[in-house]
Each structure stands twice: as C-alpha cells, then as structure tokens.
Symmetry: C2
Subunit: 243 residues, 2 copies
C-alpha cells in the first residue's frame, strides 16, 4: 500500500485522485489546498509521498512548506525542473503526459508516466506508484522532459489551434466544421502505421503553387494567411531537405 497526499485541486489532482481511489494498492490520505497550512492539515495517517499538482509558478512556493518533511515530495509538471524543489527535500517528478480537464475521465493505463527522482530509492517508489495506474512508466531526465513538453505543445496546443482556425474558416463561409471530423480522426489514425513524414499530403508537399495561391486568395483574415504561408513553407522545407 502506497500512501499519498495530493496537493492542489485542479485538473491533474482531480484525475489523480480519481484513478488512485480506484487502485487497491494506493491510498490517498488527504487532499491539501495549496494555500493551506500543511502542518495543521496533515492527517494522522502519514503519507509516503506528497504529490504537488499545482500551477507551474506555484510549485516552488508550495514545496517550501514541505521542506521539513522526510517524505518524498514530487511535482507533476512537464516544464518545471526537478531542481525547482527545495534542496532539503527528497525531490522527484511524477509527470503524466496527457491533457487533463476536471470533467473528462481519462484512461490512465496508456498514459506515459514520466518519473524522475534525486535518490534511486525514490525512483523505485515512483516507478511502483506509476505502474499501479499505467502500463507506460519511463525514467525521464528534466532535460528530456523539457523536450517532451515542448513537443507536446506542437502536437496538442498547435494542432488544436489548427482545428480552431479551420472552424473559423468554416463559419465565415457557412460550412459546418463537423464535416471535417472524420478527416481529423483519420489524420491521427494514420500515425499508427505511418510516420508523420510519410503521412503528409497536400499542396505544400506537392509544391502545387496554383492551389496554394488559390487558398491564399480565399483567406481574408491576415493571421490565417500568415499561418498558411509559414506552415506551407515549413512543409516545403521538410521535403526539400529529404530529396
């Protein structure tokens, strides 16, 4: 049985609480609000791990309140270095690589859990915790995590923004965005058997200047035009390099 204390009440904390409560060998002994006074709040049933799931900016501040504990203190952020935790604590990282919201329940089994710890025994403990909820647990350094988080911005934030721009283009021209959903699903389904490099299609890849010009003429919005141009050039560059 691993006893954990969750700090924070946001999306990550909510989802971790949900999955931990379903897991026999994990017990959540308390959920602490990040603004609280932890010494008073600490339950009789002592946790082995404090999991700080708060906004990136607040991690250091919150962790300082735990600097006198001899328990493991981890944060859950993709972009914060392990060293952001006070040097006095047994520090670590328990980063589930997924996009979370409070409402939507996610299946943790396939979510990569990226772990890191100052001490080897803590790495073992985090690996054990991770394995209880996911089949995908990886030791990842802070440097690698930084890369993953940056790449995640491209695959999640930026591709979602592509969907947003498409929906703007559709609504400006009175076409339903829903029409595009099967295409979006297939775009992702293709990644199961093709690399993005080999899955690429379209006018930019073909260097079909006529279609590109027609598209640019069809775009009224300045930002839409700029995004189209920059991404078209980036795709062209990708395939020129490979020739």
């Amino acid at each position: 049985m691993i006893k954990v204390s969750l700090v924070g009440t946001g999306a990550v904390s909510t989802q971790l609480l949900r999955v931990f409560e379903k897991t026999k060998l994990i017990k959540v002994v308390e959920v602490l609000a990040s603004r609280g006074n932890f010494n008073e709040a600490i339950a009789n049933d002592k946790p082995e791990i404090y999991i700080i799931a708060v906004s990136d900016d607040a991690i250091s501040e919150v962790a300082k309140k735990l600097k006198d504990t001899n328990k493991l203190v981890v944060h859950t952020s993709g972009s914060v270095h392990l060293d952001a935790l006070p040097h006095e604590v047994r520090g670590g990282v328990f980063y589930p690589l997924q996009t979370f919201s409070k409402e939507r329940e996610v299946n943790f089994e396939q979510i990569p859990i990226c772990i890191e710890a100052k001490q080897e025994r803590d790495e073992v403990l985090l690996k054990k915790l991770g394995s209880l909820i996911s089949k995908q647990v990886f030791e990842i350094t802070s440097e690698q995590r930084k890369t993953i988080h940056l790449a995640a911005v491209f695959v999640n934030n930026f591709s979602n923004h592509m969907f947003q721009l498409a929906s703007e283009i559709c609504s400006e021209n009175e076409v339903s965005f829903d029409l595009l959903k099967p295409l979006i699903e297939e775009t992702v389904a293709k990644l199961q058997y093709l690399s993005p490099l080999n899955a690429q299609t379209g006018p930019a890849k073909r260097n079909d200047q006529q279609t590109i010009e027609r598209h640019l003429n069809h775009l009224d919005n300045k930002t839409h035009k700029m995004v189209y141009e920059v991404l078209t050039n980036s795709i062209k560059e990708t395939y020129e390099k490979k020739l």
Copy 2:
C-alpha cells in the same frame, strides 16, 4: 443498380473501386487509365456515370475525352470547380472528404460525400450513389467545397505537420515520439464534446511568457522557432478577441 466507370488508378479510384465492389447496388463496369483512348475502352455494359478520379490538373483534359457522351461525368476533387468540366457534358462532383492512400482501407460509412451537379436529375443520381456507400451525403456548392478543402488543409496537412515537427524535436533530443501518441489521440477525442476554442490549453492561451521564452530558447531550428512564434501569436490573438 447504378453502373459506373472509374477513370484513374490512384488512391481515390482504388478506394472507390473497393467500396463499390462491396456494394450490391453499384456495378463498376470498367476502370480506365486516364491516358487511354476511352472510345475503344468503353465496355459493352454502358456506365451511367463516369467518375474521374485523377490529379486536379488532369481533370479538364480527361473530361474533354468524354464530351460526346450523354452520360453523367463527375470529378472527385475538393478544389476544382464544377465549371472545369466541359460545358457540353452533364457535369457533377462526387467529393469524398477524406485522406486516402492506396493501401489503407477506409470505412466510407462515416465519410462525408459532397455532391454537386449542373442538373437536378444528376444531383438525385449522385445522392443515390453516395447514400449507397455513406450515411453522410451533402449537396455542397463549388464555393463551399473550396472552403472545405482549405479548412481540410488546416486540419489534415497542417496538424500532421505539427506531428512532424514534434517528431523532429523529439529525435534531436533523443526522446521517442511514441510517448506523444496518447496525447495526440486525446487531443482529437476532446473534439467530440468540446469546440477547439474551449479545448485549447497551453502557455500561449495562458499568455505564460516565461514558458514561451523557455520553449523558444530550447528550439535550435530556425523554422521551428518561427512556427512556434507565429502559432503562439495566433493563439494569443484568438483569445484576446474573445475577451
């Protein structure tokens, strides 16, 4: 029974042939190579519809060879106007909104089929043909189709390119791109219940300048940097507008 002749041997033609052959009420009487002499090739079993599934540039040329037929002649392109077909023919469009490859079999049932025809009776015929393979058949004008095709470039070509850039960032830093696949899947799964506008997360949406700077510093490649900046600004603009 609707009898069709397929012109072209690429991905769209291959996939249409596959689904038509599985459909009882459709008969493919011939598959013509676009370079062939159609008069000689025409089978005894006359088609009611010629479906020209060739590259955009070749559509007009190929359709000219059919200008003496009294049958319906349609193309399958998202970006070519109905008027690109010779004015002598009963012209139409039968555009399945999906990304196709020769190898991968797709399920047509959920693929939107966008139809258009010069004559109403032909619209009826195309609607009938479409309904035999898909539950999603829509009458779409050439102008609307232009919009759809442009939006499709954003959701398919451009988001696939985001995956490509992420995979480059991963491999430059010796991290496996596979780690990101569950995140990519969830990004798309979210669209079932959230608009892209509401699904957006990340440093650009939060206007988290510290993380943005850190990401830009971590990117060595000039094009990667430029894409990051342009998309970050476009996301910021989107949410400033909405305030």
